[in-house]
Symmetry: C2
Amino acid sequence: MSDVARLAGVSIKTVSRVVNDEPAVHPDTAERVMAAIEQLGFRRNLGARNLRRGSTTGTIGLIVEDVGNPFYSELNRAVERIATSFGRQVLTGSSEENSDRERELVLEFCARRVDGILVVPAGLQHGYLVPEMRAGTPVVFIDRPAGDIVADTVLVDNLGGTIEAVTHLAQHGHRRIAFLGDSPDIFTAAERLRGFREGCVRNGISYDESLVSMGTPTPDSVGNAVKRLLDGPDAATAVIAGNNRVAVHLLRALAHAERRPAMVGFDDFELADLLNPPVTVVAHDVSALGHAAAELLFARVQGDQSPPRKVVLPVHLVARGSGEVAP
Amino acid sequence: MSDVARLAGVSIKTVSRVVNDEPAVHPDTAERVMAAIEQLGFRRNLGARNLRRGSTTGTIGLIVEDVGNPFYSELNRAVERIATSFGRQVLTGSSEENSDRERELVLEFCARRVDGILVVPAGLQHGYLVPEMRAGTPVVFIDRPAGDIVADTVLVDNLGGTIEAVTHLAQHGHRRIAFLGDSPDIFTAAERLRGFREGCVRNGISYDESLVSMGTPTPDSVGNAVKRLLDGPDAATAVIAGNNRVAVHLLRALAHAERRPAMVGFDDFELADLLNPPVTVVAHDVSALGHAAAELLFARVQGDQSPPRKVVLPVHLVARGSGEVAP
DNA sequence: GGTCACTATGACAACGTTGTCTCCTCCGGG
DNA sequence: CCCGGAGGAGACAACGTTGTCATAGTGACC
């Protein structure tokens, strides 16, 4: 900046005025300064600016499990859209479902003085956030609630959605329904399992623990579970996939199976309608999830001091065929 | 920091020493300082630190067309992985295939003094980058080359891949092959079209322009193109989809068609193997693309001054069935 | 002609850190 | 008893900006 000032024959304060479009600069002077800026390729240092102004940094942090997962990338996109409309940029990070990594990312973002943080929490302990939140960094939890603190949260109706899935299968005559879920340490997985149980009760199906398999989904883990659940005289006639990744592995496992059970997935996914049979899912609007969370965050950034809110977004069953297969 | 110093009864410089793990601090003093930091919830301001040290900011910028597109989110993930290994964080932005937006994002990132920029360019003019690159911000172009400047670039073998696709179809007896591509303004689309033409030539098929349809893919645009190309006596018996989004729209359009042509897609996608018939694609390793670009960027960040490099990653045809349908 | 308001500009401090330099104290060796 | 050196700690400036205040010049008005 001082180089620009020297070249234009003005003080650095005048350069500052020009780059900030402040009035009270003579047009001729402004033009000289602009020319110097152009010639030197000057770009003002936003870090220094934010430091001096004590203002916001114009960035928010988004922490998800894996930015490469289509579910989270859609969320990312929705968040980015809102952030852009508020003139902010997005720092992203993948926690890899590891609470230490989550914490590391959050604290790093705080050290960078992001204006706010959106997080799909990996862990259950969030006490470390208290000082940060007290220091003025708003935090909104997405898809899963905070472990041990009260904070803004945006969820989907996991319980209701799974109940609906069970009911759908029951209506098509199924009494032996299996549930394949992610690790029960994950809130959504636990909640959906709870919904599964509740759904069984409501439909007069006795809940059978041997038809449940929970755990981080891999092709092998899901494949083995499928073998176990669909074999024998008491085999399941229908399966519920607890999330999009379970669904993918499940579909692949079923592709080579002789008997195809009915199936309902939680989370919609691209091309679900083109498979054979088309996959019935409990769908929810991931974009809406991101929008709601980001809107809430920016309300906080702009000073909204109201008590922490908990938003639960609706889900709806999209019947495409795979849930209507007879037992 | 001065609050911490006051509480611990030391100077701020000593606090600085403690938070930076500098030696020559008495253990007792260090402990007092730590306690004060804990009590006040102090977190050092990385912006101020970077300003003072004149060091790198520890961030890189990644600009893609749409962070929500699975192709780019996988890229994002690969980049993040490398960035993490270099202790950097990633700022992301979606250009939405708009060159003004691309420019805006790049300049904003530069103003934030990112250590480097990875960009899937939307436009063809990159002169605006010259001052930034001269000022020391390395830039690596991904998936598409820079328009009018010389810079590091990582591409995939678009030409070879499409030739391979045509050859595959020709080997299965097809002579009337259609090509559905994205807007020809996009480098990859133009290049794949070139590969299509070249593939026709090599396989002794006369190139027929009426079998080509280029443009931003929407369900309608692709649907109409399918109707046009697959109707009449001279209808195409095979179709090549120019990218993953064209492929998705194409599959949906074909689902309701009476006659199903053979098909090969460029870009692999999840569940391609589970469709009926399984979709043959020209696959490439998106993660490798991100890795290579990020590795190259960090080499530059760390001072590699060698001439700009151009890396072309191989592609390979994954025959799953849809390309082997008879004419 | 003197005062006033207004325009255009600059000097200086401050934002929160850290690098450099200096100072003080304590200890061992001559 | 003095001196040199090491260990521990602080004062101060500087990074690149911008907010505040001060200053000089220019008309306009009484």
